[in-house]
């Protein structure tokens, strides 16, 4: 799984810590989300997408989509 979270976060001028606080998770979770190493729940994916003004499809790219 790949994610575009980092790109969207930078565009929104947010730090990892700020994004983590906005969605109520630890900063580490955002780090692993950006690396595509953590498979989030639908709720967390939705919250991240909402904060970054994007859709879940835009943020998360699964291997079978490529």
């Amino acid at each position: 799984m790949e994610t575009k979270i980092r790109d969207y976060r930078v565009m929104k001028n947010l730090t990892q810590a700020e994004l983590a606080e906005a969605v109520g998770v630890r900063r580490e979770t955002v780090v692993f989300l950006e690396k595509g190493k953590y498979n989030p729940s639908l709720k967390l994916a939705h919250d991240v997408a909402k904060v970054l003004d994007a859709t879940i499809d835009e943020l998360f790219i699964f291997d079978d989509d490529e």
Binding site: G24, R26, T29, F32, K37, Y38, N39, P40, L44
Partner: protein, 232 residues
């Protein structure tokens, strides 16, 4: 009296009135705070009204009580007898464990560091005494180990670790589940080894093994998943 003097006097009065008002308000706030705190300690509250730490403490206390009941029933069923000694000693051990959990929940680094050092010293002293005197100090070693694990885990925890998100909960749960599975396999292996008389285990050996294996393996699995990022 000049106009300036009258204005000054008025200002003084206003300042005094403000100060008195603030003191009154502070006193009232302090009193209400004290009242709330007293109410929190002495008045029974519903479980849902407790904060996170209080809930953990209540759950730990409940689990400890259940553990004591299971041990006493097991002693009674196996014919070892559930006398006052067993009940009294169980109560003392449980009180010590609960005191440790309470110390951990204060979150004060100095308390946790002191607990870790005392625990470590108990383990080292226990081994040293066992080696030099030849007597059994396994209880001291085990107690020190438990103390060290509980206090050091709290001491090492960074401030933002207080946030429990879905990833940390998932990792904590899977770490414990893997530890449980490993422990189960170890128990099966120990049972068959003992059954075929390959090894003779004492009760202290097995319980001591479990006391050490379960928390250590849980920590190792949790660390592994935390480094990996996810549990899959």
């Amino acid at each position: 009296m000049t106009n300036e003097e009258i204005t000054e006097e008025k200002r003084d009065k206003t300042d005094k009135a403000d100060k008195m008002d603030k003191t009154d308000k502070k006193d009232k706030t302090d009193k209400s705070d004290k009242k709330e705190k007293t109410a929190g300690i002495f008045e029974p509250r519903r479980f849902s009204d407790l904060d996170k730490n209080e809930r953990r403490y209540v759950i730990s206390a409940a689990f400890s009580a259940v553990a004591a009941i299971i041990v006493i029933i097991a002693a009674y069923v196996t014919g070892a007898g559930a006398g006052f000694n067993l009940i009294g000693l169980s109560a003392v051990i449980l009180v010590i464990i609960l005191a440790l959990i309470a110390a951990k929940m204060t979150g004060k680094k100095a308390v946790l560091l002191a607990g870790s050092i005392i625990g470590l010293l108990m383990v080292i002293t226990g081994f040293a005494l066992m080696a030099t005197s030849g007597n059994d100090f396994s209880m001291m070693i085990t107690g020190g180990f438990i103390m060290f694990i509980i206090c050091f885990a709290g001491y090492r925890k960074p401030a933002d670790r207080e946030i429990q998100d879905e990833r940390s909960l998932k990792i904590a749960t899977w770490g414990m589940a893997y530890s449980w599975y490993l422990t189960y396999l170890v128990i099966i292996l120990a049972f068959w080894l003992s059954y075929f008389k390959a090894v003779t285990f004492t009760v202290e050996m097995i319980t001591g093994l479990l006391i050490i294996l379960m928390p250590v393996s849980t920590i190792i699995f949790q660390r592994y998943f935390a480094t990996k990022g996810d549990v899959y």
